[in-house]
């Protein structure tokens, strides 16, 4: 067991007999004497065995001074206790983690609060023609969801109902509406102002105002430019997730982060579309109870959406949405005459 020194210019080991002083450590090698002050020493904490002290000099960090004798280790501890106490070093790791945690929480909070207003503004700036270019062709959708229902008169009634809703919105571009022969009770908006309604929705709707509420909701998505916004938001969230989690295989943390943020943003889109829907219905003095009834039925029908907690859902809770329609709606009229409504219900019946 002996102390030794490496000068940082060659790998040669110099055997030394160090002397420990009040101010520092001195030692001699065959080439001369050296004296290092404690304040210039950097302890190499991970050196093994850990009861030996390894130091480098602040101004010559390739050199290594290794003190092995226990009595010298003890003496150094008396003069410069910080060189033996690793607590500070351990706290440094906790401090780094603390600063990073605060940094990450700040970034996530910034995304949560800043991304929606920014992407909302940006999406509205993007020219409508850009979104129209992204509009999927109906033929592509028909392959997956079912053929378009082509009955003439029912389509005219649906178009006029949509135009009626559009007439009170300030949206200047045309909206394409089609019904596909699919039993799902659903409707959705696609980029470029295309709204697709499934046969099941029209069939299950109990009044024209139920259908109007859903159509107005989808028009809300189009007017709010939600499709462009969603694309922007998901790209931003994806980029930030890469920044946080790296580029390796998708991790649980990555999935949770991306999905919880995009689900949360998607719920607020739905709420905005509901608000827009009620606004249009009120403008036309249409009875909102149709919308309320639709969401109540959705709530009663259960399904995955209703059993999942709110934060895992793409849509807000249906009962709350029904209440919203009932409380905020002021209209009294029906959107279609009973005769037109019966004709519209036959939209997917093929004429013989």
């Amino acid at each position: 067991m002996s102390s030794h020194f490496f000068d940082g210019s060659s790998a040669k080991r110099y055997e030394i007999t160090p002397e420990v002083w009040q101010e520092g450590i001195s030692f001699s090698t065959e080439r001369g004497d050296l004296a290092w002050r404690y304040e210039d020493l950097i302890r190499l904490w991970d050196y093994r065995p850990s009861d030996h002290l390894a130091f480098t000099h602040r101004k010559h960090q390739d050199s290594r001074l290794i003190i092995e004798e226990p009595e010298l280790v003890k003496a150094i501890g008396q003069h410069a206790p910080d060189l033996l106490n690793r607590k500070k070093e351990g706290l440094r790791a906790a401090r780094v983690a603390g600063v990073l945690a605060v940094g990450v929480i700040t970034v996530v909070a910034a995304i949560y609060f800043l991304v929606p207003p920014i992407t909302d503004t940006l999406a509205r700036i993007v020219p409508w023609s850009f979104e129209v270019e992204e509009r999927p062709e109906l033929a592509a959708l028909e392959k997956f969801l079912g053929k378009r229902c082509t009955a003439g008169r029912p389509n005219e009634i649906l178009k006029s109902l949509t135009d009626q809703l559009l007439s009170v919105s300030d949206f200047p571009h045309p909206i394409l509406i089609d019904v596909l022969d699919n039993k799902m009770s659903n409707a959705f908006a696609l980029p470029g102002g295309r709204i697709v309604v499934m046969r099941g929705l029209i069939r299950n709707a109990r009044s024209p105002n139920e259908l109007s509420a859903v159509l107005a909701h989808e028009i809300g998505h189009v007017v709010n430019r939600d499709l462009t916004e969603r694309w922007m938001r998901n790209s931003a969230i994806g980029a930030i997730a890469t920044l946080l989690f790296g580029t390796g295989p998708t991790s649980l943390g990555d999935t949770l982060f991306q999905n919880s943020l995009s689900l949360s943003f998607s719920r607020s889109d739905e709420e905005a579309a509901d608000r827009y829907s009620v606004h249009l219905l009120n403008q036309l003095d249409l009875d909102p109870s149709g919308g309320a009834a639709f969401f109540e039925r959705l709530s009663r029908s259960g399904g995955l959406g209703e059993t999942l907690p709110d934060y895992l859902n793409t849509h807000p809770e249906s009962e709350g949405r029904a209440d919203y329609f009932r409380e905020r709606g002021t209209g009294t009229k029906q959107a279609l005459s009973p005769a037109d409504w019966l004709i519209l219900k036959q939209i997917c019946v093929k004429s013989s």
């Binding site: 490496f6 060659s10 001195s26 983690a97 990073l100 940094g103 996530v108 592509a140």
Partner: protein
């Protein structure tokens, strides 16, 4: 006694006795401390959405490197979490982000809503996948460079020069050749890529010298390539269009369809295990040959584990890692380090007097663009 604060002083070179057989040891004591470090790292990573991983990796390396002692002196790792983090940020902003936006844009246009399938965008998408492969090769080289540059022994630094893009181009050429030869040229590729790395690796001012050849590698590699066929011929009879399986598991089933199903599954499992063993055997032969052809000054290397020992290491580490849900991962690290120290021997005069610090600066800033990127 006068204390100086301006530097370490200057000490010249003096002779040191030649050592012919060098001692490589790995210290496996203090498992508790390493486990604690690992757990603290996991907690910190969870609390920081995994951003702490750069610091965690650094702390693990700093704790593991000094456990390897060569001729009584431990290795040291001098990298920092901040360096790797900043390197990652640079790569993210300058490469990953623009690349991600570009490939998203290209992929979204392969199927054009109006004109259908777009050959141009499909080609661009294919090229962007090749781009990722190129970046991955370059990143692997940069990570290797960073690790070596931050490894010290007796105050002497390792260093790697050479260009990451050259390595990536070489990798690309090799991948292409391996692809068009149905995988047969892989041993040649493995040797060529290792040759490039070692040709550019120094410790202090001393260059490693690697005389890599594929001699002795073809047989184990072809054994691996042909293993599925060997298993198939061993267990399956093809006689005039009738395929029958030569062995039968004793399942409690009189249903012949189920029996054939389980026999097929059995053959696939046996095939996979035999292929994995054959590949392991190739890897061992590769590293044995590579070590035997590596010299450092007058020092020679030799790596002589048996396939059974390597198999024991892999299976043991696999069980330790997965059965403990990654909690005991540090034990697997220690087993690896110990294995390397046990089976790697270095003999011959290292001439420590001549082993001097390389003249060029290997600070992180001196490594240029992406110098400190580390994906390991």
């Amino acid at each position: 006694m006068t204390f100086e604060s301006s530097g370490a002083g200057s000490i010249g070179i003096a002779g040191e006795k030649d050592i012919l057989a060098h001692k490589l040891e790995f210290d496996r004591n203090g498992v508790g401390g390493l486990l604690m470090l690992h757990i603290v790292n996991i907690v910190f990573m969870v609390l920081t959405f995994f951003v702490y991983r750069f610091w965690a990796l650094t702390r693990v390396r700093r704790a593991l490197w000094p456990r390897m002692r060569f001729d009584g002196s431990p290795l040291e790792y001098t990298g920092t979490g901040l360096e790797i983090f900043i390197g990652f940020l640079k790569v993210f902003l300058l490469i990953l982000l623009p690349y991600g936006i570009f490939s998203n844009w290209v992929n979204s246009r392969i199927i054009d809503p109006e004109i259908g399938f777009s050959f141009l965008f499909a080609l661009l998408s294919y090229l962007s996948v090749l781009g990722i492969a190129f970046l991955y090769s370059a990143a692997r080289y940069l990570a290797y460079r960073y690790r070596v540059n931050r490894t010290h022994w007796r105050g002497i630094r390792g260093s790697v020069d050479g260009a990451a893009y050259m390595y990536a181009l070489k990798s690309f050429g090799c991948y292409f050749l391996v692809f068009i030869t149905f995988g047969i040229m892989k041993p040649w590729m493995d040797v060529k890529l290792l040759q490039y790395k070692l040709d550019h690796t120094k410790f202090g001012g001393q260059q490693f010298w690697f005389a890599g050849t594929t001699e002795g590698l073809w047989r184990p590699y072809l054994l691996f390539l042909l293993m599925p066929l060997i298993v198939l011929f061993a267990f399956v009879d093809i006689d005039g269009g009738i395929i029958s399986i030569r062995f039968s598991f004793q399942f409690d089933s009189s249903d012949s369809a189920a029996a054939i199903h389980w026999q097929s599954v059995g053959i696939v499992v046996i095939g996979a295990i035999c292929s994995a063993l054959a590949y392991l055997n190739y890897q061992i032969q590769f590293w044995k040959k590579a070590a035997s052809r590596l010299t450092f000054g007058a020092a020679h290397f030799s790596f002589q584990p048996t396939i059974r020992q390597v198999f024991g290491l892999y299976i043991g580490n696999w069980l330790i890692t997965y059965l403990s849900l990654w909690i005991l991962l540090p034990i697997a690290w220690l087993r690896k380090g110990h294995f390397l120290a046990q089976h790697l021997t270095i003999t011959g005069n290292l001439n420590l007097d001549a082993l001097v610090q390389a003249e060029f600066d290997t600070d992180s800033k001196g490594e240029g663009f992406l110098g400190d990127f580390d994906i390991a």
